[in-house]
Amino acid sequence: MIRLNPRLTQNVAFAFLFFSTLLIIVPVFCILFIVVRNGLPALNWEFVSAYPRLGMRAGGIFPAIVGTVYLVLGAFVFSLPVGILAAIYLSEYAKDHWLKRVVEVAIVNLAGVPSVVYGLFGLGLFVFFLKFGASIIAGSLTLGIMSLPVIITASREALGAVPRSFREVSLALGATKWQTIRRAVLPNALPGILTGTILALSRAAGETAPILFTVAAFYLPRLPKSIFDQCMALPYHLYVIATQVPNVKPSIQYGTALVLIFLVLAMNIVAIVIRARFRKRKLW
């Protein structure tokens, strides 16, 4: 058997690990660079505030931005309360028995269901069965349900990070379990819960497949009138001008991609700021 020099082996191995890491990191920055360089020239006030013209080959993407904001807000209104209550159940109430384990497995599976299957589900349940039609409410609920597993997991971690002593003191002072959760646990976990929720919804904002059949309009040069109206959405708009409409100027395509990335990053930054401010005034 050949005896390899351990020092040499280590250098070769670490070099391999390092280049593997570069193989992931470098393309990420290349992609960012390509989108910014090609998209930035297209960005101006008209692009973000005007309606599309000439079959989406000119003008702006205002209705798509507004549509995506509505969808995210709708998903937020639905999934935040449900997510918090579900997390409270898992963190504060559930005993270690089979039901808790089944809930955990269900969350894992919900997180793994492909986004296009969520689209089918939303189409079957909200659009046809509940007769909402292709509408903001159908799209928002679909995105909200899709985000739930991530929100529940993050909220549960935030609740679990609140020290046990907070609960014990409150209970010892004669508070009921719910009073304890509401006054002693939840306020301290809320920033963590908000951070997790905003991160989850930033992913939802960029999703195309779930809104494809539930809400997204190919071309709708007006703002939605109610939650039962269709709307345009940024990711679907990018899909349309990248593959469905011929002869769209690349600058418009890249510009749309840039605005979408910017929106997602802005949500991420808000989440990070909330977390950072919370850490500063942490009570324990």
Binding site: F14, I24, A106, A111, G206
Partner: protein
């Protein structure tokens, strides 16, 4: 202290919300079955799963989903071969080798990749990767399974890296110290001690990576060419299950066999990912149990 009436209501709501995940998993499955099973009144299950022709709108229509299932598996296989070695190596580098100051930057970059919407990655793949593959292999079109595999492998990286990193962090420090104290080099420690101890995590990372890849829709639809043929090489266009649903649902009439067949594909996808996630969860729990470290609550 006695519970007040409103506390009874809120605690009932908490219990209901707590089990809402079970409810939604079942509801999703029920709605897929409700819309999809009707197909098998006109098409036999065997013809659907083993049929080689997918011509849903010709007369008479043919609903053979085999090319789509194989297309998904083909692209997924390619993606996993690309992404597992690189992803695991990256996780080991970040978790075990990288200096502390670099670690957070690398982690943030990988997380940033996860934040880029798949439609943007699909678009960038379409304008950069697709022409590149076409030129390198002198093909009539760059919209091939290979382009899809490379892109999906790239998109699965954040999943693989973060799961693998978690798995490495669970390995007790004493394992490393023991190996180093016996005179092993840091690499020998990683290769012979840390990675074997985290091997369940490796399997979980692979499984969840597969789950991520097989469910990806928009990027794969934009760059794999969407030809519903049984694939034989990586250098030809393929069509995946997800892309078929996304591309055809817009034209399918509600309640028509075509509409039902797309839900039937959804059932197949759902079962695939269900099994993958259960397996991954099993291995993640096994690692925790193996290392005798109770999971943090």
């Amino acid at each position: 202290m006695r519970k007040r009436p409103h506390e009874f209501f809120i605690e009932t709501a908490i219990f209901l919300a707590g089990t809402v995940s079970i409810f939604f998993v079942i509801l999703i499955f029920i709605f897929l079955l409700k819309e999809g099973l009707a197909l098998f009144r006109t098409v036999s299950l065997w013809d659907f799963l083993a049929g080689k022709d997918w011509y849903p709108i010709s007369q008479p229509p043919k609903f053979g989903a085999l090319p789509l299932v194989l297309g998904s598996l083909w692209v997924t296989l390619g993606a996993i071969v690309v992404s597992v070695p690189v992803g695991v190596a990256c996780a080991v580098y970040i978790g075990e080798v990288a200096p502390r100051w670099l670690r957070e930057t690398l982690k943030a970059s990988v997380e940033f990749l996860a934040a880029i919407p798949s439609i943007v990655l699909g678009f960038i793949g379409l304008v950069t990767l697709v022409p590149l593959v076409q030129n390198i292999f002198h093909l009539p079109t760059g919209l091939t399974a290979l382009s899809g595999s490379l892109m999906l492998g790239f998109m699965a990286m954040p999943t693989i890296v973060s799961i693998m990193e978690d798995a490495l962090s669970v390995v007790p420090k004493s394992y490393r110290e023991g190996a180093l104290a016996l005179g092993a080099t840091p690499w020998q420690t990683i290769w012979r001690v840390v990675i074997p101890a985290a091997s369940s995590g490796v399997i979980a990372a692979v499984m969840l990576g597969i789950g991520r890849v097989i469910g990806e829709t928009m990027a794969v639809m934009m760059i794999t060419g969407n030809a519903a043929r049984i694939p034989t090489t990586l250098l030809e266009p393929v069509r995946t299950m997800t892309a078929t649903i996304a591309a055809e649902m817009g034209e399918a009439v509600q309640g028509s066999p075509h509409y039902q067949s797309l839900f039937a594909i959804g059932i197949v996808l759902f079962i695939f990912t269900f099994i993958i996630n259960l397996t991954a969860d099993f291995f993640l729990h096994r690692e925790m149990a193996d290392l005798k470290k109770p999971r943090k609550k």
